[in-house]
Symmetry: C3
Subunit: 466 residues, 3 copies
């Protein structure tokens, strides 16, 4: 069925009317996408995407995790095996399997994103099913070959004003250089993601550190290591980066003395690093990153609380990012204190916090962000990038932190075609939330219009200094 | 006042209309009750129930806990004392005390269950009060003597298709044998609940273990103990069991080597078992139970997180199940990992998880169930078997796990007369939730009809292999 | 814009109509304010308040924490420095800065409280802005000099029937004596808050203990210390106190032997008290306070879970209560057990529990209060004294604990002019909640009227024995 113009709005007629008016104002604002995982090569090479299965199924862990949970094998969905062993390569077969299980996504955001993309990009308004799977496959495949479906054309069609990729600290950013050199008007900026050179519990940590230091021509000691970070951050900044991003198992920070930190660095470089030392080093480096952000102005993001690769059998067969990352209880009050004691009152720092533990919204994050000048709250993240998740985020944070300690929306996606759908959803849910506040007279409608604009556009642009 | 046909539906007229249409489809579906605590002797002997107080007050910890919290003595409600000391025996006096405090249940599910039973079973539409207490007592008492009020007749009247009891591992299931031998067409199956032979911190543990092993004719060592479990599971299965159930203080699992497990078994049999060993043994046995489930096909249920008998004075006087069991914070991510590492990817296993910690719905349980093929989510449980509790369950799990990693409703009750009320409530709340998704255009109405049917009937039947 | 008569009511027309009818019944009930932080000197001396900034900005941590979070300096808001250094003293300048940032409070309860006070006390219906800042300042300032704006006149205008202050255990309650001696008919009672003589981790603890013991003429040992508490409680009670209040970092209780407790007392008096001993002593003293409450009838309140003065730099400059108190995860099940084992079944004790951790509402607090005769639940507190916070409180506690294990509303405020606004908000939100239960037929409207009255007036009066 065609997308309904009132989707995600309040059902009650007065509130719905308010939501409609608010949304009409922001529906067509440009997209600021300050945090995401699209591939910079797409914009650099501007090549057409391949078949529908490669576009919608194989790379989307939201999709295949759900199918897997119901007994579908990842091999049958064409997800590559680590050992290079055989997996399904026939896109049409994969698509049919997906279509057969499409009902599993009822009530999920994936459903809404997919159908938004189908209709707005491919002109398809039928609901996917086993019956029409082949027909839709053909229609999508045909359309994919059109020049208007290339990344740069889509960037324009989507109304993107700026988009950030996420890039390893040791990345040479060649794709970004290509984009910059191409003369194309799109704005694709990198973000500095140093997890692989900060998390000593990851495989290849020492190699990554040596590579980082080598790139900077620094010495293999703690001073050289910090120097290398500063050097790489400058390298990223020169290519448009405005932010760093830190995906840690928890939100712990530390503020060791220089001697302690240097000794810790020596210890974590060793093969038999303890989990305690690895944890402490991650904690220390968040504080160091904050210190550097004050100097170079890069906005800092912390994404804590995921137990990565919870399923060892699946990890051994298929590697990372296969839908087996599970949130866990995450504290912020004690954990962030060392960093905040050092820099929390410094308005030059913008530290954006995310969470996978919704209990922290009202208990910890909103009170912290409603006090510390350096703190802002990132939008509902990952599993909570959804209508109910976004609603809970606003209900649980606004009364304590207000709207202006939040930073608007980011889509955090590697699914390029879902970007307009995700921003559309976020704008609708925010307008619906605002409409309820107007409808029960907590807010005046003229203010709600201003807030809707801020949440849809201005706050993201300003918070991320884009 | 008579039950309103729109109770628990959305108030807004369009959404209410959708809910009405959805509910009309499922209202009269048969009841699948795959987890509960009714007494198999009821079905075996088919005797009439006694007086109203014995039916509605004395055995229902939802009822007397609330009265107790407001200063009513359990003795005055006829709750039996452990020492056999005097308690009120006059059903009418107990009923009057209950009626006097009936206002305490405003806003609680007990209120809704009770009034549903009063109207649909006894034809009473007045609200209970001190004034009409005697009259209602008489009307109920009179009706109770009618043959149509016997357990088997009610089974038919309630539209039950299958119901599971919960039975100790050492139970001889004589009542179930009687039912099977009687030629009655009702389907009453046992469930294997081995807590008393798994939890070494309970009084009588060693005796229970010896009894278990004796029943199986096995040896008093770990191999014999496991053999005895397999033997008893087969005994239960032969009498219709399709599931096991495990009520543990937490969700911890373990996967020790055979030698470690055998040594642990020797330690927990001793009188001075440490709480650490008892905890580890419970953890180990969950993994063993999963292993056996893969072999014999019994569906596994874990009900963790209750601090049982929190009130020692009350426990000494009145024993277990007196409303003093208090939920506590319960983690699943680390706790279930040993079991999931072993069997989480095995589609032959169905492991149904429950929780008393609603924070785990969106943070842990939905992401786990939305990934592991072996996992499913049980419905909102115990304190959350309520309109708001069920609504939160759907709001917090659906976007990540979908509807199809849940298993429909179970009533989990020992209050036979409340069974239709509980299923009615669950179907209404689910239809209300679906109606909201349809009303704001997240779901099409034809899909909602299918989901409503699945949640009311099909999923429970399939998940529990009934 | 003028306050809307339907503010905070359900938007749907039928539910709104019910809410209107419920609220009409309770809108003008007297205010019972059994817990708060107004200054008894106000009522004793009955002097006019000073300028608008001193009234609305400088003393209100809800206000300046939000401004501070967005980079406004506390000095510029006239917040006094610990070192007596210069801060802004021009009320008009402070007011302008406040007005300029007024938009930050959109969606917060502060917005609603402020506008309620502006309209009902000052007759101002315009929205504060930079443009009208001076004009509103002048209108408020002019009105403040009117005799009708003195504390006692406002007490009457607000419809207060009784109000409690919160007072240190060593306070001489001179202001309360002045009030009592004055013949004024207002009822202003003290509450016994012994944190400073119980929490050994606070600066000046030993001095405070010595002062307490000195006031009672008792001996400097544990027996004398307990005697001093009893003495001071009697002193408070003689001046109208009906309650004690305990603000602890957590909800831990203990029940040591007399010897253990006496030895612990000796240890905590020493300068190098360990944090473990300080914690245990706080825990022990909660149980002692409960024991004393059973004797003297003072209602006991526990407010746990705030990490006080989280921001050390700000604390050094500006001291306590500057918006840097952050909630943290708080458990009750194990923590309260020693106290409850001793006194939980004693109906002579009323122990009112508060929380800053909303996850405990449904998981721990409602089950505990729905069982133990001694327990009641305090209303949504601090950050949750807000429309969404109060709604969540009811949604998460009512189904398990009912309405009658809660104690109505308390405003907990030091902002005198916000008291009517806060009670207005609480009554509206409760009526809105009840209206929803009536609208979807979980409750009859006549019952809802009775409950609304109970929540607005009777329960607070009875629970606090006022």
């Amino acid at each position: 069925m065609p997308l309904h113009p009132d989707r995600l709005f309040p059902v009650e007629v007065d509130a719905r009317g308010i939501a409609r008016r608010l949304f009409a104002d922001v529906e067509n604002l440009p997209i600021i996408s300050p945090h995401g995982h699209t591939d910079p090569l797409w914009y650099a090479h501007d090549e057409t995407f391949s078949d529908p299965a490669s576009l919608f199924v194989k790379p989307d862990h939201y999709i295949f995790r759900m199918l897997y949970s119901q007994g579908v094998k990842l091999e049958d969905l064409g997800v590559p095996r680590q050992d290079g062993g055989p997996v399904e390569t026939d896109g049409r077969k994969i698509w049919r399997l997906f279509a057969k299980h499409w009902y599993l996504f009822r009530g999920t955001p994936s459903r809404l994103w997919f159908e938004h993309a189908l209709e707005t990009i491919f002109g398809i308004t039928e609901r996917l099913s086993e019956i029409n799977a082949d027909e839709l496959y053909d229609r999508i495949a045909e359309r994919l070959s059109d020049p208007s479906m290339r990344p740069r054309a889509l960037y324009k069609q989507f109304g993107i004003e700026a988009i950030s990729t996420t890039d390893a600290a040791t990345d040479d950013l060649a794709a970004h250089d290509t984009i910059l050199a191409s003369g194309w008007q799109g704005r694709v900026v990198p973000a500095y993601r140093p997890d692989a050179v900060i998390d000593a519990s990851r495989p290849g940590f020492r190699d990554n550190v040596e590579k980082l230091i080598g790139l900077a021509g620094a010495s293999l000691d703690y001073a050289g290591y910090l120097e290398a970070h500063r050097n790489r951050r400058a390298y990223f900044k020169a290519r448009g980066a405005t932010s760093t991003d830190h995906g840690h198992p928890n939100a712990r920070t530390a503020n060791l003395s220089a001697d302690e930190a240097a000794a810790l660095f020596e210890r974590v470089l060793k093969a038999d690093v303890s989990s305690g030392d690895a944890d402490l080093f991650r904690a220390q480096m968040l504080t160091e990153m904050a210190r550097m952000s004050i100097d170079d102005g890069l906005v800092m993001q912390i994404h804590p609380g995921s137990f990565r690769n919870h399923n060892p059998n699946l990890f051994a067969q298929f590697g990372v990012d296969k839908g087996a990352d599970i949130p866990r209880s995450t504290g912020y009050v004690e954990e962030l204190k060392p960093l905040l004691d050092a820099f929390g009152n410094d308005p030059r720092l913008t530290l954006i916090l995310f969470t996978l533990d919704e209990t922290s919204y009202s208990r910890e994050l909103a009170p912290l962000a409603g006090h510390y000048p350096a703190l802002r709250l990132g939008p509902a993240w990952w599993f909570y990038d959804s209508p109910e998740g976004m609603r809970r985020f606003r209900e649980l944070t606004t009364e304590t932190a207000g709207f202006y300690n939040t930073v608007g929306f980011n889509d955090d996606t590697r699914a390029y075609l879902s970007i307009p759908a995700r921003h559309d959803m976020a704008r609708r849910v925010d307008c619906a939330f605002l409409a309820r506040l107007v409808a029960d007279h907590r807010l005046d409608e003229d203010e709600a219009h201003e807030i809707a604009h801020d949440l849809s556009y201005r706050l993201a642009k300003e918070a991320y200094r884009l």
